[in-house]
Symmetry: C2
Subunit: 185 residues, 2 copies
DNA sequence: GGATATGGTATCGAGTCAATACCATTGGAG
DNA sequence: CTCCAATGGTATTGACTCGATACCATATCC
């Protein structure tokens, strides 16, 4: 029988495996994490500050990583209309093309090789553990927009949603992205 | 409902949380992983080569990390009787004293806060995923000695076990440690 | 309109990591 | 028994990560 200590060791091992996969195609783990985040985050969250909160690092570190990605032509910065201090981040064509080559695909394949009841079960367990660990460090959830308590579906007509917190309209596609401000409904 | 893609995102997030916890007490994540490995590995596996295989890194990298730990007085090297090329690693008193301050304790607490059926379930899922991911990269399991097909229980009397592969006697305590050579029974 | 908060960047030092080169010892094969 | 390839480690280099600290511009609040 497996005891709790062994499970912790396995979680540690899994974390190492994920990190190791992050060296695909000459990029570094932190760079891949930034790329994946930018591919999934909505326009309110695609900023250096958003990425900093997501990764749980300091802003100086994240600024460095973003500069290296910008130098490599994978990420571009544009001015944020409405706040001249802030910066909007986005993937370039080249950056987007790199996404399918992500080393996480290896983990994903291993995951998909598991029988179905186990997959669902693992999802539940990991979700609960992440929630619990995030709560312990008072970190944000970065959940999906449409699962948020500030989300108003079809508030402006079919497919025209609305964020009550940021007072902004939302397209269908955006409702599927992750958001800095998301709070469970 | 959660789909498979979301589970992968959560696994990625969990890996980042584990890595972030690795900065406790001025050490780095890789240094903590080395310390934990040395605390759990048996005498056949407590070598730079064993740690290299466990972490899935190159030997040069691991050599660097071990040197920094030796400079800090947390790890000590002794000659390996029987092979003058090899080195035996061990934790110093100071290194052993540091173990309970491990940042993984935070993750462990979050894990223990989960209700029981979920804990067991998560353990099963993570075990299966790690096994599957390791197989994909043909990595070793580093399982517990007494679960190995080379393990002969009480072969030399009660509590006097034996490794058929390395042809070495094993004490009770060693049978509970992880081993480089372990293969599921 | 000035204090303070916020979003980012610049710089430094220690560490990580792969790659390459290198050095001993070991263990075969002739 | 002597080469010689394989094995276990270390040394060095260069790009990147990361926290800490300092700093700058724009926003916001009184």
């Amino acid at each position: 029988m497996r005891n709790d200590g062994e499970t912790i060791e396995l979680i540690e091992r899994l974390a190492r495996l994920v990190t190791n996969e992050g060296h695909a195609h000459g990029l570094k783990p932190a760079q891949w994490e930034a790329l994946r985040y930018l591919a999934r985050a909505n326009r309110f969250s695609r900023t250096p500050g958003g990425l900093t909160a997501y990764l749980g690092l300091t802003k100086g570190t994240v600024s460095q990583t973003l500069m290296s990605l910008e130098r490599a032509g994978l990420v571009e910065k544009t001015a944020n209309p409405g706040d001249a201090r802030s910066v909007q981040l986005g993937l370039t064509e080249k950056g987007r093309a790199l996404l399918p080559l992500d080393g996480m695909a290896t983990i994903q394949k291993a995951f998909e090789a598991l029988p179905q009841p186990l997959r669902a079960t693992l999802g539940d367990g990991v979700a609960a553990l992440v929630t619990s660990a995030l709560a312990a460090r008072s970190g944000r959830a970065f959940g999906i927009c449409h699962d948020c308590r500030h989300f108003a579906a079809d508030a402006r007509g079919p497919g025209q949603h609305y964020c009550r917190l940021l007072k902004q309209p939302l397209e269908d596609a955006e409702a599927e992205q992750i958001c800095q401000e998301q709070e469970a409904a």
